[in-house]
């Protein structure tokens, strides 16, 4: 086996050296009755050529990967500068472990410190961690953190949050005696209806919203923050489309206490849903309640600056069941990719990307809105996603669009909601050319008509 340096002969010698005759004796401490006597039911080894062939064949069956697409809803096609993959492919980065030994891990540590800083800058917060698994688990951890901080059990969540994020939150909190109360959606604006906020009380740990929300509508974050704070509750803001941070008022500037986001938009491949990276940021005063790893500045005896994992007393390897979270391995390499993205695009590139997304989405929305039989049900301002109400069942319409026009036109909302059979969610980014958008519009027209 080419990944095992020692040859069979060398292994024989080593067996002798440790006083054994047969390799099987290495497992003498395993009771015979539970040893596996037959070979595993796994096919025999494939050579590189055969393996590549097999995977290329499977990849070809993913037809959706290679056609124009207007899917968003928590995973976005953005342009990723070529240098990202080159740099994260340096084995000094991708074959290193969590930086437990700072003297020989400064590359990773400094990169994480830059990541934490960039996340703070974009979210408008004061402190950010080294990453969470993804946006959905970050949101769940934010709810648990709000409970730790406020010692309150009631959490009010917007129904306009990504349905899969809400599902994950339900799973995480189910054994904490936390109830997640849903806030309805205002069918006019597409925003979270703030009426129910009247029920905010001194048992309320937090209000949780997403902006832009699942329907692409930008929430009135600042107003909601005021209401929450008035009741002594925290405001947790989730962002699934981080590209929006280049244009929209940052959650921090709007009064959020905890901001979680999906960082996939920052140069991370769609890869059928993962690995992505969760961004987690909050206020300095809550730093010791943060889940996950934190990197901080430190100095050696000669006063040279370096970076280390810090505030470890929050973490499972020290605090065990009393830790702020059970997370250990996080999304290091993906956080690195996002860091390289943010630094390469930089101040102006992040702004320009957001601007192009908003403009192209506006163009697409206008063109579709003008089509016979199609309407845009929601009035609130949007970033790069919007709901379209079709003249007929959206799911069927989109499958015809895929098979007849080879375009993935968006997401039929019936996947998550009852009573929205004719609605679908369209996402437009800087990667969608005007020609693609026009083809989508034309396709929708011809299929409906």
């Amino acid at each position: 086996m080419r990944y095992i340096p020692n040859s069979p002969a060398e292994r024989e010698e080593m067996l002798r050296a440790v006083g054994l005759e047969r390799a099987s004796q290495l497992f003498d401490s395993i009771p015979a009755d539970i040893r596996l006597e037959k070979p595993l039911g796994v096919p025999s080894a494939l050579s590189e050529m055969e393996l590549l062939e097999k995977f290329n064949r499977m990849a070809e069956r993913n037809r959706a990967a290679t056609r124009p697409s207007f899917l968003g809803a928590g995973a976005y096609s953005h342009y990723a500068p070529t240098i990202i993959d080159h740099l994260i492919s340096r084995s000094e980065f991708f074959t290193a472990y969590t930086p437990y030994q700072p003297e020989i891990s400064q590359g990773t540590l400094q990169a994480i410190f830059e990541f934490q800083t960039l996340v703070c800058q974009l979210t408008g917060m004061e402190v950010a961690n080294a990453s969470m698994y993804d946006g959905s688990t970050a949101l769940a951890e934010a709810v648990l953190m709000a409970e730790r901080i406020t010692r309150r059990k009631r959490v009010i969540v917007s129904s306009a949050i990504h349905p899969e994020y809400l599902a994950v939150a339900d799973t995480y909190v189910q054994h904490y005696g936390i109830e997640l109360e849903r806030l309805e959606i205002d069918e006019q604006t597409g925003r979270t209806s703030t009426e129910a906020l009247a029920s905010l009380d001194d048992k309320t740990a937090a209000v949780v919203i997403q902006s832009p929300n699942f329907f692409g509508c930008i929430e009135e974050v600042a107003a909601i923050a005021e209401r929450a704070h008035a009741a002594g509750a925290l405001l947790v803001v989730a962002v699934t489309e981080s590209a929006s941070l280049g244009l929209l008022r940052s959650p921090g500037a709007s009064g959020a206490d905890i901001v979680v986001a999906e960082g996939q938009s920052f140069g991370v491949p769609l890869s059928f849903g993962g690995p992505y990276v969760g961004l987690f940021a909050t206020r300095d005063k809550y730093a010791r309640q943060i889940p996950g790893r934190l990197v901080g500045e430190a100095y050696d005896k000669q006063g040279r600056r370096g970076f280390v994992l810090t505030l470890a007393t929050r973490e499972q390897h020290i605090r065990r069941e009393k830790a702020t979270s059970n997370i250990c391995t996080n999304e290091g390499l993906i956080a690195l990719a996002a860091t390289i993205y943010m630094e390469t695009m930089g101040r102006r590139g992040i702004e320009e990307t957001a601007r192009q997304c908003a403009q192209k989405a506006a163009y697409a929305a206008r063109r579709i809105g003008e089509l016979q039989g199609y309407t845009l049900p929601f009035s609130a301002p949007r970033f790069n996603e919007f709901v379209v109400r079709a003249p007929s069942n959206a799911d069927e319409l989109l499958s015809r669009l895929a098979s007849e026009k080879n375009i993935t036109g968006g997401l039929a909302l019936s996947r998550y909601y009852e009573g929205r059979e004719t609605d679908f969610l369209v996402c437009v980014t800087e990667t969608n050319s005007r020609a693609e958008i026009d083809a989508l519009v034309e396709g929708l027209r011809s299929i409906a008509g």
Partner: protein
Amino acid sequence: MDSTNITKVTPHISHNEHLIFERSQEGRIGYSLPPLDVDETPLDELIPAELRRDDDLEGVPEVSEVDVVRHFTRISTWNYSIDLGMYPLGSCTMKYNSRLNEKVARIPGFANLHPLAPESDSQGALEVIYELQEYLSEITGLAGVTLQPAAGAHGEMTGVMMIRAFIDARDGREASAKRRVMLIPDSAHGTNPASAMLAGFTVKAIRSTSEGFTDLEHLREMCAAGDVAGFMLTNPNTLGLFEKNIREICDIVHEAGGLVYMDGANMNALVGVARPGDMGVDVIHLNLHKTFSTPHGGGGPGCGPCCCTKELEPFLPVPRVVKDGDVFKLDYNRPQSIGRVKAFYGNFGMMVRALAYILTHGAEGLREVTEAAVLNARYIAEGLTSDYEKPFNAPPMHEVVFTDKRQSRKGVHTLDIAKRLIDYGFHPMTIYFPLIVQGAMLIEPTESVGRQELDQFIEAMRSIAREAKENPDLVINAPHSTRIGRLDEAAAARRPILRWKPKESASAA
């Protein structure tokens, strides 16, 4: 030659690379985008000013592509990595990360596939997931598999929640409400209790015997209380020893109405040799980023599949990937499921790599890996016994633990030995874990190390043992060969600086 008393010399320009924010210069550009190709609408008509940023992204770096490439290439040279040498972190299984697997995961048909694309147009991806589930089921001897968890700890949470859901269903909420204790050995990894906590369990510790095994007496005792929902154990345990009484342990727990959770972080000692399912284990998590070689990436991404018995299958997270004829489907209709633990389907990119790992090895290769990994650990155990104290006598499996007992008499502790090892060109072993061993040094070479390098490592450790006797300060002040020395972690934690700030406001950290 002594380079340090030479004025103004930095051994290499890459040794003083600052933070990117310190490199940033207004007006530098590192990106390129096509010109906007649609007619532009005034922003105010799209998004009112009060909803837009007004800070002009102040502070976000402005650098050229060349700046970025040099920045990350330089700081990368400050890292140790598997490709540079042996990385014997016990419990972490730092094995070779195949380039082939990296290539496969980047095939556009996988890398560019949107998770919400129609199932009919994502069959290849669903096939990858399904096929990997099948092999992991075969390897663990357990029927049900979910690949949704993003890492080991996430898999643990998933597994213990399933145990809870199962007991709720079996005993009814009321009765089960009295079963809220999760037993965990004092040698367990910190994520175990933390994960049990997330499922709302109370954690009680089970002692280990002086031989390094689960104390059956203590286990019986605790089980007698009748409030035990389960027992989470690692096997081989975190001392690198196979729990030879595993069958009996499972029986005890099962008779007490509990379930057995196995932490599969150490499966590199068992693949192809013994299967948790055959031992009586009910549910286990695997770390694809350990046993199945997906890269650690400096701290992730991981993938922590959870495998369980038929009985527990109904409680697995949704959606599940199932095969119907020769079509692969997402099955959401699982009423007893604990729900979702992550958006979409987990860290798919890692699944592609792990499947490639399994298919590249085949049945024989997988067993060969296990044998080679255990043999390497044995070889090190043998090589170091004369110089370092081994707390337990049982032959180690894939990793071996030593203590600093002898060295500490001279004031040289595990941390010092670890740092000194850096001067010899090796990444240190896992230190101070497991907690039950004083100054633990947990060494896991994995199968990816050849004999010469093992001998070099043994020689280095022996030399350090000699230094500890003859010249302790040399060890205590190590490392001597790195870009920076030991950092003052205490000070860093006392007044944490967790982000860069522009000079003027730096004080206001």
